[in-house]
């Protein structure tokens, strides 16, 4: 249905989309996830040409849309969009919001448009609010009305641009369940979202975007359970890194301590976890050759799985150390791996999970 090849978008010198390739088939529900500022929304807005791409091609139903010969307004009528900030027309009632498209663009009569609009409003649970003005509605209600407005044009695909990001947590589910219902009906959709569990449930495919490209794409299971690439893994598991570089045996203990404290506070590590991590750390640092050059220490915590691990990169040329032999480490870690990265020895220690 839609083929996107080598899509590129620059804002001045800033290259937001570098090279995006994606095929969207009819009936697919594609979730687009990724860190902020990686061009997810821009990508979506390029699809209906709200942003003009600076390169590449978009072919819709066999027709190239970036050559300037296509009636863009006609195209957009078949391609609904739901915005983060709802963007209901403030001067029109809910019903008029849903009617204006069919009446002005599809040439439908008022009666026809209104009966269709009432049907759609019923579907999104907004029939009672048909005569309300947008500023009388809650965020969730506005977004549902906006979805009804989108559906009023009988689109072939709907683009959702972070539809729940501006909502109170209590209103997220009412909007998501409307989108779920649409997915069940076989509507083709592309959804930019930060709701990971929703994306996992509803998508036929999940796109992880980063660095201006589609970094990894696959089914929900592939992306969320078995991500192939490091960045994807870090993102879906919400892995938070703590890094400290030891340059000499006289490293700044107080700096290390205060940074570690700040890190623990930021990600709400439990006292227990902190204590264990400190014990392992102390044992580790004591046996490390700190005088041989720079040693890098990483602490990794996944907010998703709550798994904690540590990584130590020894100075260049330093010989391996018997980490496994340490009783404290043996006691507190479930797994210790040793391998070589370039010419540095790397230890990976997985901390035992509290519950296990």
């Amino acid at each position: 249905m839609i083929q996107i090849k080598h899509l590129q978008k620059k804002f001045g010198n800033l290259e937001v989309l570098r090279d995006v390739n994606l095929n969207i088939k009819c009936g697919e529900v594609i979730s687009i996830i990724g860190p902020s500022g990686t061009g997810k929304s821009t990508f979506l807005r390029c699809l209906n040409l709200l942003e003009q791409p600076t390169g590449g091609s978009i072919v819709i139903d066999g027709e190239e849309v970036l050559n300037g010969r296509v009636n863009v307004s006609k195209l957009r009528q078949k391609m609904g969009m739901v915005f983060q900030s709802f963007n209901l027309f403030n001067h029109l009632s809910v019903l008029e919001n849903v009617c204006i498209g069919p009446m002005k663009l599809l040439g439908k009569s008022r009666e026809e448009a209104e009966s269709k609009a009432r049907e759609l409003l019923k579907m999104v649970g907004m029939a009672e609010k048909a005569s309300a003005m947008p500023d009388e509605l809650s965020g969730g209600q506005k977004q549902r009305a906006a979805i009804a407005r989108c559906l009023s044009m009988d689109p072939e695909i709907i683009l959702f641009d972070e539809p729940t990001s501006a909502l109170d947590p209590t209103m997220v589910s009412e909007v998501l369940s409307v989108i779920r219902a649409l997915a069940r009906q076989g509507m083709t959709m592309a959804i930019v979202t930060h709701e990971m569990s929703f994306a996992r449930d509803v998508s036929t495919r999940v796109v992880y975007m980063d660095e201006g490209i589609i970094y990894e794409i696959g089914t929900s299971e592939e992306i969320f359970e078995h991500p192939k690439r490091e960045r994807t893994r870090v993102f879906v598991n919400r892995i938070r890194d703590f890094h400290f570089a030891f340059h000499s045996p006289d490293y700044d203990r107080f700096l290390l301590k205060s940074e570690w404290q700040a890190y623990c506070n930021k990600y709400f590590l439990t006292r227990e976890s902190m204590r264990k991590a400190q014990l392992i750390g102390n044992a580790l640092f004591r046996m490390m050759p700190l005088d041989k050059g720079t040693l890098d220490f990483y602490f990794r915590y996944s907010e998703h799985t709550r798994e904690m691990s540590m990584e130590v990169l020894l100075p260049i040329g330093a010989s391996p150390v018997n980490v496994e032999g340490n009783t404290v480490i043996h006691e507190l870690c479930s797994k210790v791996e040793c391998n070589h990265e370039a010419d540095r020895v790397k230890y990976r220690l997985c901390m035992r999970h509290k519950n296990r």
Binding site: M79, F83, N87, N90
Partner: protein, 491 residues
Amino acid sequence: MLAAAPILGSEAIVESTQQASSKISCFEDLRGRVLAVPSSTVQDIYVEEHYPDIKLDRFDTEADMMLSLQQEKCDGAIMDDVICYALVRKTQGVTILPDSPVPPCQMGVVFGKHNQELCNQFNAFIRQLKASGELQTIMERWIKHFDTAEMPNLPLPTQGEPIRVAMEPCTEPIVFIKNEKIAGFDAELIQRFSVYINRPVEIVEMEYDSLIASTTTGKADMAASGILITDERAESVLFSEPYYDSHSRVAVLTKNAHPSIVSGNEGEQNLGIWGTVVRSFYRNIIEERRYMLLWDGLKVTLHISFFSALLGTILGACICYLRMSKNRVLSNIAKVYIDIMRGTPILVLLMMMCYVAFTKFDNTPVAIITFAMNFAAYVSEMFRTSISSIDKGQTEAGIALGFTPVRTFCYIVLPQAIRRVLPVYKGELISLIKNTSIVGYVAVADLTRASYIIRGRTFDPFFPLLMVALMYFLIAWLFTYVLDRIGNKVC
């Protein structure tokens, strides 16, 4: 006059003697006091030069001077004798001083420098009138019996190229409006001249200040309204031979005048407040069908207001479009235009448009264009701020729904912008309507001008001003009412 009421007997004696000595019996007594003068006239210049200890209050019309005198804001009012006699006869409690230091001045008719031929013809005409003694008769009729004097019934020529004569019909008995027609000795002279050279006359009414300028800019061929001949004026225009020697006279309040110069007892019957109001209303509005003057002025004001608002709104929309354009050049052009228009006094702009830029055109359309240009500058900024205050998401949603950018603007942005701009737009519209009251400066007879003309006859400020204020209020109310109705329909 300003002395406090005496409290003790002994002081009362001192007061009364002081008062007696402070009574005015001749011009010299005005030293140290306030004198009303018609601004930049011979009187103004002479008194300022020779009596530096007299404080001068300058006015545009003699009627205003008389009002100031009656309200005791000044102690005397100096003006041409013909006007003074007429005014004093209409005003109660005013006496004329027997002397005046200002040397007599001669009245003449003004021509543009390029109009030597017409000037020669007029001179020949005046010489003929003087020789036959007719000039004397005409003058006496208007000056001595001005309240009964009528314009002669002359067979006025209708064929040929008309002579445009600039006049300010606010000064009795020189030129004034009587029974909705122009009258006065200057008016009669002009009519007789018209017959003499067998060309029709077209009277162009304007402010006194504009009279002389109008002959040089070509708005009029000649100007006559008791204009005094001075060397300064003669440098820029041609004067006809003088037809009247004007002496200055000073009017003072009778109660301040020394008894020796007050002639006769001019007691007036007391009508009571209600009676005074009714008489004033009758004199100002009903007599000589003066309401027709107001009605005609109202029509002109409505006409100017409506068309400048309409044109200004359209122009404002265009300026707003330029201002919001992505093209830097267009946007800067609009910005400069707005800055210039907002930074220039509308009166100055109006004068420039009428007397510099479009001298060959009728003043009413030029005034409409001027007001429209000014209005456009203000409303374009209002339009711009209200349009840019509409969230960008609204436009995006419209475009994403499949509207073209233009239709998105019309269906989505414009209704919301109109709703936001309407309250400030209404305020600006009202201020435009009120601003149109300055068109009198460029000889357009609007509502305010009508009140001037009436006041010039009756010297009663109350009813003409009240009626005019009321009418402006009604126009403003009418316009905003219509605007509200339109606004409700649109959004």
